[in-house]
Amino acid sequence: MSTAPAGPQLELRGVTKRFGGVAAVDGVNFEIAKGDIVGIIGPNGAGKTTLLNCISGVYHLDGGDIKLNGSSIAGMAPHRVARLGIGRTFQIVKPFGSMTARENVGIGALFGSAHARRGVKQAFALADEVLALVGLKAKADLPVSALTIPDRKRLEVARAVATRPQLLLLDEVMAGLNNVEIDEALEMVRSVHATGVTVLLIEHVMRVIVGVCRRAIVLDSGQVLAQGEPEVVLRDERVIQAYLGERYAKRLKSS
């Protein structure tokens, strides 16, 4: 990567997205510094996935602006956003069903960031590296249908990582995993972050947010309710009670 400009890597100003008059994302402002690792939390339907779709260009904004390294990416098609170096996963995984794990990741490597343009052969070599990074090396030649749910989540991350993003958006990649699998996934996210990628991850699992994030943003009803250090934000009685529910409040107190 070339010279990193001063100022935030990602900047959201008044980002708004409505579905039939209802604002799923409502005037969201925040900034993410290069190299940071930030968590987004919030109850079901808070607008987390919608926000991610806004950043990655899947949705057109109804208001506000999104800047990457100081220039606006609002209104750009998803493939252009991807080429600028924003990679993402889908909460409900969307693998290429007829392909092997290696081919899935190869697509990310073949396309992805413009600065990392490469031929078919090099792309598959990179795919193998990324598969090793996420712990799928032994399953590279398996078709998607032969992969377990945790492995499909890994594959989803691997595909996005193979695009060589400067910013990686992860949408609940640990949902539905057991404790051991979460630990493995945490290790995976840490090792991706260690390669210099900025990470923005949506999670319901508090352990994940506290474990890896330097900063947490709490979203509710499409609005930013609080942001700051995870420990501080998560112990904010108001946040716990009102927005994360009793279940989380109890679990957090006992931990």
Binding site: S98, F111, S113, P143
Partner: protein, 360 residues
């Protein structure tokens, strides 16, 4: 790849060698001229009618292989590709008949015009999903044929109107042979293009679009551009076949270059042979075209269908083709090419598995 790689490779090699020998025989035997073939008593190819049938088979091999690029590899079921065949035929036909261009100069314009037209209609059409695209493309296919027949300018039909378009006959020796070679070359070219596509970045992008368009786009695939390019490429190859057909057949009209049934036939050929594969659609074209000719009673080896009068024959043929479509889609979803990889064998369990795959 799934299955044991070694036996897989061995079977593929055997398949390729046998295929190459057959192709070489078909292509080289007539070189010695029709008369030589007759005197040497080389079976099949010594017959003029077989020659014509072989050319038609090659023509459908081009169309099915081309359809596979948009329908099989990209996953957009185009139902109106015959429009490109007709556009190619009329482009070359008009340039030869009206502008007096030589054939070899007029031919390259057929794929170019067909591709340009496909890009134009593809931009809005390819924004439609699944069934909507299929229906809309069928509409385009029908509309183009009607337009070509009915456009008048100053009281004169521009494209020959209902009475069609006559081209001067190409004055060369062994005309039939030359066109058989030309059409076969177009088929080989289409297969080579498919082979290249499936190994290229372009092809990987197309398959990604077929498997999950949204995921493809967030990974950086310019889905609109890729879909339009695939559609235009399919149109170019189909148009090329049309261009060759116009000079070969010497007469073109709405009926012989815009037949709606070609739309179904080319898709059926690709399905029968194996969509998304390199050789499948061409193999399907050979099998199905032979069957069509057989049922239609035009094969030299043809015989009467039991209990079917000659009047009812075309109807019975259509019914059989329709049934075949249903059977293929349900029981052989990956096409007959599947049986040549050494991976699968046609068996009861194969059919049962297919049924499970294609049912809800």
């Amino acid at each position: 790849m799934i299955g044991t790689a070694a036996s897989n490779r061995r079977w593929r090699r055997i398949f390729l060698i046998v295929g190459a020998i057959l192709a070489a025989y078909a292509l080289l035997a007539p070189l010695t001229s029709l008369e030589a073939a007759q005197s040497a008593n080389i079976p099949l190819l010594a017959d003029k009618l077989w020659f014509r049938i072989a050319t038609i088979i090659a023509m459908f091999a081009v169309m099915a292989t081309a359809w596979n690029i948009i329908g099989g590899i990209t996953g957009y079921a185009a139902f109106g590709n015959v429009a490109f065949f007709g556009i190619g035929a009329y482009t070359t036909g008009m340039l030869i008949a009206k502008a007096k261009w030589p054939f070899l100069l007029a031919l390259p314009l057929a794929p170019i015009v067909a591709a340009a037209f496909a890009a134009l209609v593809g931009l809005p059409l390819l924004r439609l999903r699944g069934h909507y695209f299929a229906v809309a493309s069928l509409g385009v296919g029908v509309a183009v044929g009607e337009l070509v027949q009915n456009i008048d300018y100053g009281g004169q039909p521009v494209f020959g109107g209902a009475s069609g378009l006559f081209l001067p006959i190409l004055r060369i020796d062994n005309r039939g042979l030359a066109f058989f070679y030309l059409m076969s070359a177009a088929a080989v070219f289409s297969i080579a293009v498919t082979w290249w596509v499936l190994r290229s970045r372009f092809g990987y992008g197309l398959i990604a679009i077929r498997e999950n368009e949204e995921a493809a786009s967030v990974l950086g695939v310019n889905t609109t551009a890729y879909k339009v390019a695939a559609f235009a490429l399919a149109a170019a190859l189909t148009g090329l076949a049309g261009g060759i057909f116009s000079q070969w057949n010497v007469f073109i009209n709405q009926e012989n270059v815009f037949p709606i049934e070609y739309n179904v036939q080319m898709i059926l050929m690709a399905l029968l042979g194996g969509t998304g594969t390199v050789f499948g659609p061409a193999a399907g074209a050979i099998l199905l075209q032979l069957l069509i000719q057989f049922l239609g009673g035009t094969l030299p080896i043809s015989f009467d269908l039991p209990f079917v009068s000659s009047d009812a024959r075309p109807i019975v043929a259509q019914v059989i083709l329709g049934l075949l479509l249903v059977v293929v889609v349900i029981f052989v979803p990956r096409g007959v090419i599947d049986f040549f990889g050494g991976r699968t064998r046609l068996s009861l369990s194969y059919l049962r598995r297919s049924l499970r795959e294609t049912s809800l």
